[in-house]
Amino acid sequence: MKPSAKKSGNLTTAILLFLLTAQFLVWNGVSFYKKDVKKTYFSGIRDIKPELEIVPNVPSKEILKAISFGDEQLTFRYNGYMMQFIGDTFGRVTPLKDYNYEKLYRWWLLLDDIDSESNLITYVVGYYWSATQNPERDIPYVVNFLEQHADKHPSEKWWWYSQAAYNAKFKMHDSERALEIAKKLADLPKDLDIPIWTRQLQAFFYEDKGEYKQACDIILNVIQDFGDDKISQGEMNFMYSFIQERLRTMINKGPGLDNADISPECRAMMEVQKAQDLKKFYKK
């Protein structure tokens, strides 16, 4: 081997070693221990970890429209799809209590603003996100969203009022909030073909609060408004037993029927002897 070739080979090896050493320092960083105290001059790239956030930051509506390239439905569906899986990616599983529900709520509202006809987001919110392990902190967001979604098309989306009322009552333990939503459900147009329990829901919540007067009035209203054609015999039997067994028991435990603060119609209703007799309360 010629001396010049050997010299060139040594130079190449030295350059390679230098570059590998530099790469090691960039990867590891430079730090020394001085009197048992670690002093870092330069932290290496191995300390830079990818940021695996649980809930991504919420873009503005305008940005979402811009990145949709004119097809907002596609963007809605993509982000709706993401809503089901965020936080559970790259082999990690995040418990629902660790999610930022305030951020999630803003995502839900943003997507619902793009397509309020779809049940994609509402379904995931109602049946998945509502299963949080921290209901006191997180369920108010769920209830607010379900109610706001239903407010946009109340007649078609009445089911989500019922879900919001259920979550408010049994997860938030907020009877007032549950009653507020149940009232919206009961106030839906009378010609709407929805189950009769949606009209009675307030009565059950009042019963639970011990407010027999309001519970009785609600049942009376339901019979008066829907009794002639929409209440089946089975439903009528249920209302009879609700009045006779549940409300009467509650009143008897309290002031007693004679002293109870109930309307004359309610009192008359409590005195009927069989379910069929409730028919006389129908409002013609």
């Binding site: 305008e62 429209k65 811009a66 390239f69 004119g70 097809d71 907002e72 439905q73 596609l74 569906r77 993509y78 709706g80 799809y81 089901q84 397509d115 006809e117 779809s118 049940n119 994609l120 379904y123 995931v124 049946y127 998945y128």
Partner: protein, 255 residues
């Protein structure tokens, strides 16, 4: 003219365009269907929306790349010189070239339509309108691709120009919205100048964002709120405009 159209069809077959695009469509449809099947609710809606969106991209990207490289290669291989030696005017040649590409795109779009009908054919009005506007959109894109590959000497530049045109045209509705919301009154400021540029661009570019919306596949077309005639008008204006500019440039070319 028919000979040129046949020539374009043969080159599409030669370049495996149909097979390539159909394979890409099949893959896009498969992935979309798989993703749709993993959601809790409305899986058909998600799958159809993803399939429609990805098919649109496959068709547009595939056709842009095919047209730009095809035209430039025809120039470089002197195929154009050979074709122009026949009794055909240059204007006729540009039109027949665009028509050839349009036939290719229509065949591929027919396959996409069939694919979506088989998988998610539950809203025929929406689907028909989606296919019609997709057809008009691809015809505009093809006219632009023919125009850019004739005026530019590099296929890569032509492809990039087409992608830029397509992206901005699909976003121009959003830009116009922003322009209306934020008007800068300060003359000659950066905001003022950029607003004027966007204003001019919104006049010059077609509103491709009103074409093929995947919501039509799901909810159908509400003809009371959708300006259904706009895509037709846009295509009726832009296709002749782009073909004319391309023909003017082509007529002036020296071989």
């Amino acid at each position: 003219m028919l000979t040129t159209i046949r020539y374009v069809l043969l080159t599409a077959l030669r370049d495996w365009l149909f097979l390539g695009i159909l394979l890409a469509l099949f893959a896009a449809g498969f992935v979309s269907h798989f993703m749709g099947s993993t959601v809790l609710v409305e899986s058909n809606e998600i799958s159809s929306s993803f399939t429609a969106g990805s098919s649109r991209l496959v068709l547009v990207i595939g056709m842009i790349v095919f047209v730009c490289f095809h035209v430039r290669r025809a120039f470089e291989n002197k195929e154009i010189d050979l074709m122009l030696s026949r009794p055909i005017s240059r204007v006729e040649f540009v039109i027949s070239y665009w028509l050839g590409f349009a036939v290719v795109a229509t065949i591929v779009l027919g396959a996409i339509g069939l694919f979506i009908i088989i998988l998610y054919g539950y809203n025929y009005t929406g689907l028909s309108f989606w296919i019609l506007t997709m057809w008009l959109e691809i015809l505009i894109v093809l006219a632009f691709a023919v125009f850019s590959s004739i005026i530019l000497k590099s296929s890569v530049s032509a492809v990039l120009l087409c992608f830029g045109f397509y992206s901005i045209s699909r976003m121009i509705g959003f830009f116009s919205y922003v322009l209306e919301k934020n008007q800068s009154g300060e003359m000659l400021s950066f905001d003022f100048i950029s607003q004027k540029i966007i204003w001019v661009a919104s006049f010059l570019l077609p509103r491709l964002d009103i074409f093929c919306q995947s919501k039509w596949l799901i909810y159908g077309v509400d003809f009371t709120t959708t300006a259904w005639y706009m895509p037709v008008l846009q295509a009726a204006i832009y296709i002749p405009l782009l073909i004319t500019i391309a023909a003017i440039d082509f007529k002036k070319k020296q071989f």
